[in-house]
Symmetry: C2
Subunit: 363 residues, 2 copies
Amino acid sequence: MRWLTEESIEHIALGAAVLGTGGGGDPYLGKLMALEAIKTYGPIKLLSIEELADDALIVPLSMMGSPTIGVEKIPSIEELVAPLEKIEETLGQKAAALMPIEVGGVNSLVPVLAAAAKGLPLVDADAMGRAFPESQMVTFYLDGHSADPTVLADEKGNTVVITPKDGHWGEKLARAITVQMGGSSTVCDYALPGSVVKKSAIPGTLTKSEEIGRLLLHKSGDGTHPIKRLLAVLNGYELLTGKLTDIQRTLTGGFTRGICEVEGIHDDAGRMVTLHFQNEQLLATEGEKPLAMTPDLIAILDVETGQPITTEGLRYGMRVTVIAFPCDPKWRTKKGIETAGPRYFGYPVEYEPVEKLQEGGGK
Amino acid sequence: MRWLTEESIEHIALGAAVLGTGGGGDPYLGKLMALEAIKTYGPIKLLSIEELADDALIVPLSMMGSPTIGVEKIPSIEELVAPLEKIEETLGQKAAALMPIEVGGVNSLVPVLAAAAKGLPLVDADAMGRAFPESQMVTFYLDGHSADPTVLADEKGNTVVITPKDGHWGEKLARAITVQMGGSSTVCDYALPGSVVKKSAIPGTLTKSEEIGRLLLHKSGDGTHPIKRLLAVLNGYELLTGKLTDIQRTLTGGFTRGICEVEGIHDDAGRMVTLHFQNEQLLATEGEKPLAMTPDLIAILDVETGQPITTEGLRYGMRVTVIAFPCDPKWRTKKGIETAGPRYFGYPVEYEPVEKLQEGGGK
């Protein structure tokens, strides 16, 4: 157990935007809200998964919807705790701790706010090890756990409890409800006992986000460029440094979908890389050749500071470095690739690990 | 209390299609299912509202969605009882009786099936006195009762419990969920104590449907035309007898919307009446002049037999008599007209009672 400080939150907000560039358009929004919540309600305990009692109810809490809308629709504390209170009522058990369902953007910090407001501890883990756009893309689903109940709430006072046939139906129904709710909602799903979280969640991901954020905010003693240090920590690869020359973004079915193009500069002059996103960056291609793809991670960083640029923050002319790095091994299983690999998202390519694509024969 | 016989069900199926020409495209489907259910499970008790205990939980059960889809998607008994079992679980109380939320088409008989399967009595009442396309168009809503919880289920095994802010949000969320569920769902909403049902429901409407059905199926001793006898029972008006010359039908947002045109024949030669529908027939016009409008009832009958033709059954060239008759007085209040009057459905006319439109100064 340790206490989350204001500095931790600054770092988590920044680091989470490297792990999930789309999930919650503005990680700074989440940061400001989380800092405000700590000021108002007091500090928050961060628990490692080893500390969880086997029968303790651990409740993930997140926002659903397009980040394009999330940017403008700031949730109130009432809206954030509404699905939590409803899922407790439905299950007849109080939450022992909250956890982020994903690290990435605002959803790393949404549970911080609710934990502060309810005086609950937070678990240093998530169920993606990154951010993904659909709710069944969680390690709990990979391990066969049910999405029943999935609870949604909005700022108008509506709540909905879904008992889905499976995780895909949970996503489909929750997404349609979120669209009706105005394009964003607050959600609790995969509320599970500590025993399951210990086996199934990806541990230490808030701490990992915090380390990434700290690295990017503080210069190294030897003056190494922050992107170099980041790649070392993430076992990652630089795909390209260049200039954003095209961004196409549409809001359909509750997602922000689109592509952006980066034209190489300096050593990469003459190259052109296309990034395909659905809330998250999912595929990087150069001509016909894939450079990296989901479930591995792709992030767009400011060329100077190494700070991540969210999908919503992309602007014509920005100078960026595109990096890619390996996902958690849970996503590289057959079910992991079926659930969140490129074919699931409609890209006609077979999954290849980023190490293999970048180093040829694999390392 | 009386027992519903197979003959009662035959009559109700036919009579309900006069009161709601859209609600469930095929009343014969409901009839066959209800007859089958009685054969399988045994007879059903029909209770008058006076017989209800004040604290008994009375649960309306219906199908939601476009009748165009309802025709092809036959619900199983499991799907029909799923929302009932879920609402009982949510409220922590067993249903003492079921009731139709509307009389009209298949929704008059859907609760018959579920009542047979669960061995529950049925209440001789509904909450519309006709059929309406949206779920807040019920006398319970007019009287300020909540739509919490609204429970939906589908044939795949999904259930959803909505706690809506108000009846309009209940409708909006339920409709979006129904579309995702494949265009039709089974629903329990406005589950209320007997004390409320006694005050707020429209009593005797299954018996009324049965009487209408009996009238249409059996010749009178003096050979009076069935439509004449029907108009006497309903205090109704013949708007026109003619030939269906145009039918436009589109399926949008979970509703079947459209118009049909009837060209007068015999005494009505030279006249042309347009009928505007959204699941139900809502407005009849002749040129610019309204002849009858929601919440009053409009029905299309076979010119020879007087048997009702549902919105889905309308075909080019059919010879029909269009009739209109007054709604229950609850719908003629300010809130009733706001909730289900012509302006609510987007028709730019002020409500006028059918008696006034047909007789001039009103009777």
